[in-house]
């Protein structure tokens, strides 16, 4: 096997089919980048899920005077006795790990500290904020049980599971991921066809050479290898571009919304995604080349 002979053949083939080669490179790059972005979102979603699951707590809001919520209507503010009774009850529950009390002042501080609209901030007074118990659960998956048992207790207004606040964001991420994966799938399909076509053109362009190779007794692998290598190299270049796209995406997109995500997408998982997408890209190119060669290059 003479490596430099094969490589010169490959180089000639790639140059002759320059436009097709570029098309393959671009398709593979975009397809693999989208696949990678899908995988990145996926890993982000799973690490976020565990992050949020750990942070889950229930906010048990308490009735105050003239509270608009149905649960408190006609009852007036929660009394001091009711408050103590509720706290004792919460602390006695086996599912509850810890109970903290949040005063109106604390709630106001938290609310105004969130970068809230200044007009809204001016219109809100400390007395508008509800008091609440912050309940940390031993098992976040059993939150509904706790919520159900507390519903209707004297002085209890709304009970909010903090996990529910994050759900729309999770839904959005999942939609984004599915879309990226769907487009990636279409791109991979297009890349397969393009590679097939490139190899076919290449085989046609070089039919004189391959005819002579057959005649003088070159082995099948010697005849086919340059074509498969063409596909592979185009796939590999596409893979490198997709890696660059993925790195840019991490820095520009994932790192900039890190504030929301609270979980950083590490370089390790990016390296894993890049390795995976490149392998898939190259594998597809090799397969497409082989399948086309079997049809168009009689050996």
């Amino acid at each position: 096997m003479r490596a430099n002979f094969i490589f010169s053949e490959v180089w000639i083939g790639l140059r002759r089919n320059l436009t097709m080669t570029i098309a393959v490179v671009v398709t593979v790059a975009v397809g693999m980048a989208l696949l990678g972005i899908g995988l990145m979102i996926n890993s982000q979603v799973s690490s976020l899920t565990s992050y949020w699951t750990n942070k889950v707590e229930l906010s048990v809001y308490l009735c105050k005077k003239d509270s608009p919520f149905e649960e408190c209507r006609n009852k007036g503010a929660i009394t001091e006795e009711e408050k103590i009774a509720l706290q004792t009850r919460l602390k006695a529950m086996p599912l509850v790990e810890r109970v903290d009390f949040e005063t109106q002042a604390e709630a106001y501080k938290l609310f105004t500290g969130q970068g809230v609209n200044p007009v809204l901030k001016q219109a809100t007074r400390v007395e508008d904020m509800p008091e609440s118990f912050r309940v940390k659960l031993r098992d976040p998956d059993k939150a509904t049980e706790v919520v159900q048992s507390l519903q209707g207790a004297a002085g209890v207004s709304r009970i909010i599971n903090t996990k529910d606040l994050a759900n729309p964001f999770f839904d959005f991420l999942e939609k984004l991921r599915n879309m990226a994966l769907a487009i990636a799938f279409i791109m991979v399909f297009a890349a397969t066809l393009l590679i097939g076509n490139t190899v076919r053109l290449s085989a046609y362009n070089r039919r004189r050479e391959t005819g002579i190779m057959r005649l003088v007794g070159a082995s099948n692998i010697y005849i086919q290898l340059p074509f498969v290598m063409e596909g592979t190299i185009a796939g590999l270049i596409g893979g490198v571009f997709s890696a660059v796209l993925l790195i840019v995406t991490k820095i520009m997109l994932f790192d900039s919304i890190q504030g929301f995500m609270a979980v950083q997408l590490g370089w390790n998982s990016l390296a894993w995604v890049i390795t995976l997408t490149m392998s898939i890209g190259v594998l597809i190119c090799i397969l497409a080349s082989f399948i086309t060669l079997r049809r168009y290059l009689r050996v």
């Binding site: 003479r2 190779m213 057959r214 005649l215 003088v216 099948n220």
Partner: protein
């Protein structure tokens, strides 16, 4: 060297067989003309020797191998022992004389040192010394055919198949081509040449096998082309 035993070949979608129960024996070192009109089965005969086609019936042995039992994987090795020359030369237009000849060795993985040694030798053998760096389009038809012969012979095949090698060449130049074929034959290579060229066959006085409608109608040592044509 080449042994055909009751070989028949019918191409798909054709009623008439291209070869019809043909039996021939060609010994090592022989020079055989395969003559007959177009469509008589000469090219089919050569393609069967190369295992480019399979016979519908009968057995073919080439260089001691039963082609029916030769796996596809081993066909390239058979072809390395057979050189081929065609009417249309089949040179690579973007490679010069040396590169065209060397190509045949490169693609079967011969080491570069070996190639550098044998290619100039064979270029000299076919009478193209000093023209190694010419491109095919700078050569006459006869010279191009010599390049093709050098390529066919460079790996020292046991058999040389020539399919109308003088078909595109004027009679005067053809004599030179035949001299090269004769020289190759004298090295011990079996030469099987399909041709229409009566003058050449008559002048060489070699064995003549005549095909007509896929049947052998004459097999004559030291023969001529025949009165019928």
């Amino acid at each position: 060297m080449i042994h055909f035993d009751n070989v028949s070949k019918v191409y798909a979608n054709q009623n008439r067989p291209a070869l019809d129960h043909v039996s021939v024996d060609v010994d090592k070192g022989e020079f055989v003309f395969l003559v007959g009109p177009s469509g008589s089965g000469k090219s089919t005969f050569l393609r069967l020797v190369l295992k480019e086609e399979r016979p519908n019936s009968g057995a073919i042995h080439v260089a001691g191998k039963d082609l029916a039992k030769l796996s596809n994987f081993k066909v390239p090795h058979l072809r390395r022992r057979i050189g081929c020359v065609f009417q249309d030369f089949r040179l690579l237009p973007n490679k010069n004389v040396y590169e065209n000849v060397a190509f045949a060795l490169e693609v079967i993985g011969k080491p570069r040192r070996f190639i550098r040694k044998v290619v100039p030798e064979v270029i000299e053998l076919v009478g193209l010394e000093g023209k190694a760096h010419r491109m095919p389009d700078e050569l006459s038809g006869g010279e191009q055919q010599r390049v093709a012969m050098a390529r066919a012979f460079v790996n020292r095949p046991m058999i040389l198949l020539a399919d109308e090698p003088t078909g595109n060449i004027d009679p005067a130049t053809s004599i030179g081509i035949m001299k090269v074929l004769d020289r190759i034959n004298r090295t011990g290579t079996t030469v099987l040449m399909a041709t229409h060229d009566a003058a050449i066959v008559d002048s060489m006085r070699k064995r003549v096998v005549e095909l007509e409608d896929g049947k052998i109608v004459r097999d004559q040592s030291r023969g001529v082309y025949g009165q019928a044509y």
